[in-house]
């Protein structure tokens, strides 16, 4: 009896699921497999993708693993997406090598692959929509130099030393300082996993070790918030803090003057351009191999400009 009831229940649940999903055989379907899902940045990418989907009349889905370490989960998502016979696919690889066999399968099936965010190290993607992180971090270095008067000690709090974005933002900043600002000394580069709390503790130890530190660059949202928290907990008000990306807390810190300013990518643009490129590729139109989705410097003075406000997210 229990047996029967359970099975009936399960069938009922499935029937509901089935009913909830529109019959979408005729529609153009483009799944986006992202590097993350629950962070505000990825939600902004999703918003851009949804906007393009509505505009071009296509269906998109957006999925990504819980953490950027879960390479195998992302591969499973990609496999499930391919099983749905999509017309094109958007993919932000956590590890390019691991994904190549499946991407090759997509290529053989004639499914165009659009890489987004950090791209894929392969010639399979027909286009890559991403931020030039090296150039963006170099801009952060220029702003840092300007704000601390071209000399003194600075430090970096970066999310990790393994991901493409972590490496590029670190190198972009460090290289720019080394080649253009001989009087600025980078005392340390520390990694906090993009975790608010961990980055806070790191910042406090950096400040304790270097009382004469003039500035810190936080290389992503979590790192930047951690730097702000650390400086505030130690009561250090004269530190120049430069952040990356946006989010409600970071925007507030800039309005309050705790943070000098930040680099923002254009996550909505990344999502939008990915879907737009996919639609073009499906139609057989030419797509540029590299789509630079742009970046901006924002601070107290321009945070409410329509152009900037459009690419910031909460």
């Amino acid at each position: 009896m229990l047996n029967r009831r359970t099975i009936l229940g399960a069938i009922g649940a499935l029937a509901m699921l089935g009913a909830a999903v529109p019959a979408s055989a005729q529609e153009t379907y483009i799944p986006l497999i992202s590097k993350g899902f629950q962070h505000q940045f990825w939600q902004a990418v999703k918003a851009g993708a949804d906007k393009a989907a509505a505009e071009f009349g296509v269906t998109v889905t957006f999925e990504g693993p819980d953490t950027e370490a879960q390479v195998d989960r992302q591969i499973d998502m990609l496999a499930a997406a391919l099983a749905k016979n999509p017309q094109a696919i958007g993919f932000a690889a956590l590890d390019s090598q691991a994904a190549i066999p499946l991407l090759r399968k997509a290529q053989e099936a004639g499914i165009p692959v659009i890489a987004f965010d950090s791209g894929v190290d392969s010639d399979i993607p027909v286009a890559t929509a991403s931020t030039d992180n090296l150039a963006a971090a170099a801009l952060a270095a220029d702003k840092m130099a300007e704000l601390i008067g071209g000399e003194g000690k600075v430090a970096l709090v970066v999310h990790d030393q393994t991901s493409r974005t972590g490496i590029d933002r670190r190198d972009g900043f460090v290289n720019r300082v080394e080649e253009a600002y001989p009087n600025i000394e980078i005392v340390t580069v520390q990694y906090g996993g993009g975790d608010h709390l961990q980055s806070t503790e790191i910042t406090k130890s950096i400040l304790q070790a270097n009382p004469d530190l003039k500035g810190i660059f936080g290389a992503n949202e979590g790192s930047a918030i951690g730097v702000v928290n650390g400086a505030r907990e130690l009561g250090k008000t004269d530190l120049v803090i430069i952040g990356y990306d946006s989010g409600a807390q970071q925007k507030q810190a800039i309005r309050d003057g705790l943070m000098a300013g930040a680099i923002t990518q254009n996550p909505v643009g990344i999502g939008y351009e990915t879907v737009a490129a996919a639609v073009k590729a499906i139609k057989g139109e030419e797509v540029p191999a590299a789509i630079d989705t742009g970046f901006y410097w924002y601070d107290k003075s321009n945070i409410d400009d329509p152009e900037i406000a459009a690419v910031l997210y909460d």
Binding site: M1, L2, N3, T6, I7, A10, I11, L14, A15, L17, G18, A20, V21, S24, F37, T59, T61, F62, E63, G64, D66, T67, A69, Q70, V71, D72, I75, D76, M77, A79, A80, A81, L82, A83, K84, N85, D95, Q97, A98, P101, D160, Q161, T162
Partner: protein, 334 residues
């Protein structure tokens, strides 16, 4: 209802066996219902390539869950299976890529690393009397840290070892029967399941695994060296995690040092859905295998149906609670 009423109230061995079979039947029926349901809901579900994708997605979690099953039957818990898997993958990377040794030594290295770590956990639990939850929680963190230290926090790639990706991605079955390109990873999962089933049902180690979970004190008082058997179970579980490490490394063609935490929960969920009791003394490998399949079929099916990701996790959580609730109902009837 009639069948239950006919079962004697006292939990005689025959009744326990019957109810175990009953639960497996139930879990298996749920799996079939899920597969049928998803097949009806989407024509893309019941495709050979998708079925293979599901099995492949099950292989790593399935092997980890089998390792967890062993420890859970003794009344313990192993929280370190996920990061141990990663640790073994990293050791394999060190042997093959850093040292440039031949493939069989890499395989051996991964399994021995797993056995050594399992031996440590077992010793902490049996000899130092640290509760399994704490001992394996500690091991989980130690192994996570060691993986990052040894690898220098960078993925280790296996590009210099041709054939390494074949361990999980190749298909011996496909060579023999071209119409069934079953990946080796899945074959290895099945082989591990058969081997551990055999150990549990036919060997002294298996009998003591169950006995430790049912009544450790009685086993000890009857003159058995329970510590030794317990350490043996953890060591076996560890070496199975080594196999999982090989599978994931081969699948990704790299040892990813940051991966692994959180995988222990998926493994434990599969064990529980498969009807193994968290209080020990009861459980089967077949049940765990079905539990792991239910989880991957569910996730894959929901993805195929384009159910939003937020809801996928809600559904998975509900299924875990439902499965254990059914198990409880059944046990109350005994």
């Amino acid at each position: 209802m009639t069948t239950e009423a006919a079962t004697p109230a006292a939990p005689s061995p025959a009744a326990a066996r019957l109810s175990g079979a009953h639960h497996r039947l139930l879990a298996f029926a749920s799996l079939i219902v899920l597969v049928l349901g998803f097949s009806l809901a989407s024509p893309n579900f019941m495709q050979t390539s998708n079925i293979i994708a599901i099995l492949q997605a099950t292989s790593v979690n399935g092997v980890l869950a089998i390792a967890a099953t062993l420890v859970i039957i003794t009344g313990g818990i192993d929280l370190s299976v996920g990061t141990l898997m990663t640790f073994c993958a990293v050791i394999c990377g060190v042997v093959l890529t850093y040292w440039g040794l031949p493939l069989p030594l890499g395989v051996l290295g991964a399994i021995l690393a797993g056995a050594a770590a399992g031996f440590c956990s077992g010793t902490f639990v049996a000899k130092l009397k640290v509760p399994p939850f704490i001992a394996t929680l500690g091991m989980m963190l130690i192994l996570k840290g060691l993986s990052l230290v040894i690898s220098g926090t960078r993925p280790i790639y296996f590009n210099d070892t041709p054939g390494f990706t074949e361990i999980a991605q190749g298909s011996i079955v496909g060579v023999l029967i071209p119409s069934v390109p079953l990946p080796n990873g899945v074959l290895i999962l099945f082989l591990v399941a058969i081997a551990v089933s055999f150990i549990l049902s036919k060997t002294a180690l298996g009998r003591y695994t169950f006995a430790l979970g049912s009544n450790e004190e009685a086993v000890r008082l009857s003159g058995v060296n329970t510590d030794r058997w317990k350490i043996a179970v953890y060591t076996l579980a560890g070496s199975i995690c080594g196999i999982a490490g090989l599978l994931i490394a081969s699948r990704l063609n790299s040892a990813q040092p940051a991966l692994g935490q959180g995988y222990e929960l998926d493994a434990i969920a599969a064990v529980v859905i498969g009807g193994t009791s968290l209080s020990g003394g009861r459980g089967t490998v077949l049940g765990t295998l079905i539990g792991a399949l239910i989880m991957s079929v569910l996730l894959n099916g929901l993805r195929i149906l384009s159910v939003a990701q937020e809801w996928q996790t809600v559904v998975t959580g509900s299924i875990i609670i439902l499965a254990v609730y059914i198990d409880m109902l059944r046990r109350r009837k005994l």
